[in-house]
């Protein structure tokens, strides 16, 4: 590093640095001009009202929730697949790295139940495993577009809701998770025959990376509507939202 830069070198370096500094600004400008273009498309007049556009898009998204609830056939089953089609290894996916997956002590863990239910007693894993179980090989579809086939087993969620005496005419079932994630689903989907409180993956205890101690597996919904590491389940009539849903992802999020 002892080399002293010659004059032309110095000039070249300064010129390049200036150019690099200019790039983000240019990008920002392009981004702005495009979003202005986008606004102009929608409003036709008010170019400054970005909040107005966001509000309009959110309203359409809520309208789409209602359309999807209307389209949803509670008896229509998601396709199932042979064991040979399971994606191996099944991808790990979360908004944090695999090293930050919550570690849960199965002995002390208790699943909490709250809201519009008759029996709010907490559940041990052993008690959940003692309930009737069901198994499925279905396609997990991510909102990003990719999909993977996996095999999950656990308690049919309808049966669980019946056991805790949930108000099955309530609108929503909400989930709070050990990793800070939260989401909620509509009651018809909660009662769908393929919606299961998954305790196993591919025949073994659900591993931490796939959501130990339990994951709600819903093959009729996108991945972000399938909460992992569930700590509490509650039944309610007031809209609970969700981690991604509150940031703009469609709430119904189902197929």
């Amino acid at each position: 590093m002892g080399k002293i830069l010659s004059q032309p070198d110095r000039e070249a370096i300064v010129a390049e640095a200036v150019e690099r500094l200019a790039v983000p600004e240019r990008r920002l400008f392009l981004k702005r001009s495009l979003s202005l273009g986008g606004l102009a498309l929608l409003t036709g007049c008010d170019l400054t009202d970005a909040k107005g556009v966001e509000a309009a898009l959110s309203r359409i998204s809520r309208f789409n929730d209602r359309v999807q609830a209307w389209l949803f056939d509670p008896d229509r089953l998601a396709p199932t697949y042979p064991e040979s089609m399971i994606t191996r290894p099944f991808p790990f996916n979360a908004y944090y790295g695999e090293d930050q997956v919550p570690q849960v002590n199965p002995e002390t863990f208790r699943l909490e139940v709250a809201g519009l239910v008759a029996d709010r007693r907490a559940w041990t894993l052993a008690a959940l495993r003692a309930l009737p179980q069901s198994d499925q090989i279905t396609r997990h579809i991510c909102v990003e577009g990719w999909s993977a086939v996996g095999r999950w087993g656990g308690v049919p969620f309808r049966l669980f809701l019946q056991r805790v005496g949930a108000d099955l005419s309530a609108k929503y079932v909400g989930f709070k998770c050990l990793d800070g994630y939260y989401t909620s689903i509509d009651m018809p989907t909660a009662l769908h025959p393929q919606t299961i409180l998954a305790l196993t993956y591919d025949g073994d205890t659900l591993p931490p990376r796939y959501g130990f101690p339990m994951k709600l597996r819903i093959p009729t919904k996108l991945g972000y509507k399938n909460p992992k590491h569930i700590q509490a389940i509650f039944v309610t009539n007031s809209y609970p939202g969700g981690y991604w849903e509150d940031q703009g992802y469609n709430w119904f999020g189902g197929s």
Binding site: R27, L30, K31, L34, S35, G38, L41, A56, L57, S58, I60, S61, N64, Q68, L71, F72, D73, R76, L77, A78, P79, R139, I141, C142, V143, E144, G145, W146, S147, P219, T220, W244, Q247, G248, Y249, N250, G254, S255
Partner: protein
């Protein structure tokens, strides 16, 4: 005098054609640019679309645009197709479309000898291209339905080869539509009068 001529012969493009044409152009622009952003979240091939060309800012925003403009595309498309069929315009303006006429007019167009003297009549290439655009958008809607609601439309899902294959169908149909738009814009630039006709009607 001009106005009287118009009232006797009627405009080349009736108002409903002009309205649905520009609504469709807007819907396609939003669908394609937001679709590129959605594609970027999980690319099918070893490339991404430049973010500056996309709409929505991030995946959730792009999905909101995509699933808002789909209503414009679908409703406008239904209005266009219904009026086109019921008024007899589809048959009158687009049929027959024959390979012979297509190749003859394509040859003439490539040599710069295709006449646009009568803009009320579509030549063989135009007929094929516009019918292709209609069918391609229909395919985009159907494959889009499989991606959005793969469980609720099982027959459509199987016809398109399942969820993952439907993604490729959706992508290639978009590519074909982008190709159509590129050709369409080039032709409009070569014969600017056709743009005026699509705005004023005559």
């Amino acid at each position: 005098m001009i106005e009287r001529t118009i009232s006797v012969r009627g405009p080349i493009h009736p108002l409903w054609v002009r309205l649905t044409h520009w609504s469709n152009a807007l819907a396609v622009l939003i669908m394609v640019t937001s679709g590129w952003r959605i594609y970027n979240a999980s690319p099918l091939f070893h490339f991404r679309f430049a973010d500056q060309l996309t709409l929505g800012g991030w995946l959730a925003g792009a999905i909101q645009w995509h699933f808002a403009a789909m209503w414009l595309l679908a409703v406008n498309g239904l209005v266009y197709l219904s009026l086109n069929v019921l008024s007899g315009r589809l048959r009158r303006k687009f049929l027959p479309v024959t390979p012979g006429a297509f190749y003859r007019d394509l040859n003439a167009a490539l040599r710069g000898r295709l006449s646009h003297a009568d803009p009320s009549r579509y030549n063989g290439v135009q007929r094929a291209a516009y019918l292709f655009a209609m069918l391609d958008i229909l395919l985009l809607v159907l494959s889009g339905l499989v991606l959005w609601k793969s469980v609720q439309f099982p027959l459509l899902r199987e016809l398109l080869g399942g969820y993952d294959t439907a993604r490729y169908v959706h992508f290639f149909a978009m590519t074909a539509l982008a190709g159509f738009v590129a050709g369409h814009l080039a032709m409009a630039a070569l014969v600017p009068r056709t743009v005026l006709t699509m705005i004023r009607g005559h």
